[in-house]
């Protein structure tokens, strides 16, 4: 028997779990890495395979986690990928120690984050992402009895409102910046995706009685040292609503940093992949949100395609293509529907902070000619988040794009950065410091 292919999967959300399980079932040696304590990613955060069967999402999670366990794939928690110090090698930090992992095939399943847009007061404690507040509640934050305004954009808003209400929060309103007409287009397309239609209907039923206002957005958050209320508007009317939390995110943006670091081609904001999820870099695959914000169904389908593909079963991978095509179209539709409206550019005043790590204001950035100039002159995007939060904001506000990622992908210990490439369990020879492809530069 030949030596099994070493497949490293980065990200243990639905896409990564599906890819890892399928590839392991088909003879690959898997290492599935994730920064979190538990598998599941964001959508399955906090689920437990033993107790999660009470909801459709919970049952799906339980099914996949059992399949992953049975597949023999090795799951590694609290593992943060920081660099690719040589072709075919990832540097990983865990519990303050680092190691280099060699791979024959790499699957990038790094998911998405919320898009945050600056408005007056958005740095106050109590203003948090919509998914962010749900994640904190899953992390143990008591929410019962708290007044929450949910705002921003995207299907997540309704899901979050439903989940928080189940936990006892008092949802004061859901304010979706997309105009009603755009939502109608999404609604019409759901006829082809009955599962999603049922899910949306379920969330609306669970939030019955809560105002859902398309075409409304947050103008400002009020408070001195913490949030006390928000002002929402439809461009004409203004309403002030007292609350303890503002859960606000503007749809999702993909986590592209690892793909960018490896030199994968990015087109129109997403990683370019072929029919079997392989990127422009040989043997590097990408699945789930980084190829298009399509949610759970698309993630599972693409994960399965990549799982079969890395194991060499291209025929099995191809069986998913029609479904993938349908889900990709839906992802594009969501991007169009929930794109931030132009009025949101006017929310940040001159003294509103845009880069939260370095406290750089909109006024300071408005004087810069480019994103590069802004980094040099104001340190915008140079703080610990490395532009993950302000990058999408400055792209929307000023049209600046982030074309590259530099190691380390997160702030790391000096020893991790300085370490020589470990070769112990790696390919027997041929490892050099020459990148496979030239890295994109800004």
């Amino acid at each position: 028997m030949t030596t099994p292919l070493r497949v490293v999967v980065v990200g243990a959300g639905p896409a990564g779990i599906a890819a890892a399980a399928i590839a392991a079932e088909n003879g690959c040696q898997i290492r599935l890495l994730d920064e979190n304590h538990a598998p599941g990613g964001q959508i399955w955060r906090g689920y437990d395979a033993g107790t999660a069967s009470s909801s459709p999402h919970g049952r799906e999670f339980a099914k996949w986690i059992r399949r992953l366990e049975a597949s023999g794939a090795a799951w590694e928690a609290d593992s943060c990928v920081l660099d690719s110090p040589a072709p075919g090698v990832l540097r990983v930090e865990r519990a303050g120690r680092w190691d280099d992992l060699s791979w024959d095939r790499l699957v990038i399943a790094t998911g998405a984050r919320e898009r945050f847009l600056p408005f007056s007061g958005w740095t106050l404690p109590g203003v948090i992402g919509a998914g962010g507040l749900q994640a904190m509640v899953k992390g143990g934050l008591p929410i019962a009895g708290k007044r929450v305004v949910v705002a921003g954009s995207g299907p997540l808003l309704l899901a979050v409102a439903a989940a928080l209400r189940r936990e006892g929060a008092k949802i004061e309103g859901i304010f979706e910046q997309a105009p009603r007409g755009r939502l109608a287009i999404v609604g019409a397309s759901l006829a082809a995706l009955p599962g999603k239609l049922a899910e949306g209907a379920r969330y609306r039923w669970q939030t019955r009685g809560v105002p859902y206002k398309p075409g409304w957005w947050v103008k400002r958050a009020l408070g001195e040292d913490r949030l006390q209320g928000v002002v929402v508007s439809d461009g004409n009317d203004h309403r002030e609503t007292p609350c303890e939390y503002l859960a606000c995110g503007f749809h999702l943006v993909p986590n592209l940093e690892l793909a960018q670091l490896l030199g994968c081609r990015i087109d129109a904001g997403y990683v370019t992949v072929n029919a079997v999820q392989e990127t422009s870099v040989n043997s590097v695959y990408c699945v789930g949100e980084p190829t298009g914000i399509g949610g759970l169904d698309k993630a599972l389908v693409e994960g399965q395609i990549a799982g079969f593909a890395v194991a060499g079963h291209l025929g099995k991978a191809a069986e998913f293509l029609p479904l993938r095509q349908k889900l990709r179209r839906f992802a594009q539709l969501l991007d169009n529907a929930f794109a931030p409206r132009a009025e949101l550019r006017a929310l940040a005043a001159s003294d509103t902070i845009v880069c939260r790590c370095e406290d750089v204001t909109h006024g300071e950035l408005a004087e810069c000619a480019s994103g590069r100039a802004a980094r040099l002159h104001t340190r915008c995007g140079m703080g610990p988040c490395q532009g993950r939060i302000c990058g999408p904001a400055t792209q929307f506000l000023f049209g600046w794009t982030v074309a590259s990622a530099r190691p380390p992908l997160y702030p790391a210990r000096l020893a991790t950065l300085a370490g020589q490439v470990l070769n112990g369990e790696s390919k027997p020879a041929g490892i050099t410091r020459t990148p496979q492809k030239p890295r994109q530069t800004a």
């Binding site: 290492r31 920064e35 979190n36 304590h37 538990a38 598998p39 964001q42 955060r45 437990d48 395979a49 986690i65 992953l68 366990e69 090795a74 799951w75 590694e76 928690a77 609290d78 990983v92 865990r94 519990a95 303050g96 120690r97 680092w98 190691d99 984050r113 919320e114 945050f116 740095t123 404690p125 109590g126 203003v127 948090i128 992402g129 998914g131 962010g132 507040l133 749900q134 994640a135 904190m136 509640v137 992390g139 143990g140 934050l141 008591p142 040292d225 913490r226 986590n255 902070i353 939260r356 790590c357 370095e358 406290d359 703080g383 610990p384 988040c385 993950r388 939060i389 702030p411």
Partner: protein, 92 residues
């Protein structure tokens, strides 16, 4: 680096623990993230460059607004760390 861990995380349950934040004892539970414990106690996780109080934004380890010194190690993302009895957190 240790060998790959077993599936899932250690089941610590919801046992009561006490963490020490800026020298003050805060009641929490073992299955709470440190960020959730700080938020629940209305303690900002950090002060910004200009001295503003900051609390978690993304909740998933991206934004670093929840970064604090944990057991002597600076810039830890507290949303990614579970509370442990006796854990020392410094946010200032």
């Amino acid at each position: 680096m240790e060998a790959p861990t077993a599936m899932g995380h250690a089941q610590q349950g919801n046992a009561s623990v006490t963490i020490v934040v800026n020298g003050r004892a805060i009641a929490a539970r073992a299955n709470m993230s440190v960020a959730a414990a700080l938020m629940s106690a209305e303690i900002p996780c950090r002060r910004s460059v200009r001295g503003e109080p900051r609390a978690p934004l993304c909740g998933m380890g991206i934004c670093f607004e929840c970064a604090a010194t944990v057991d002597g190690e600076p810039l830890r993302r507290t949303c990614q760390i579970r509370c442990r009895d006796g854990m020392e957190v410094v946010t200032e």
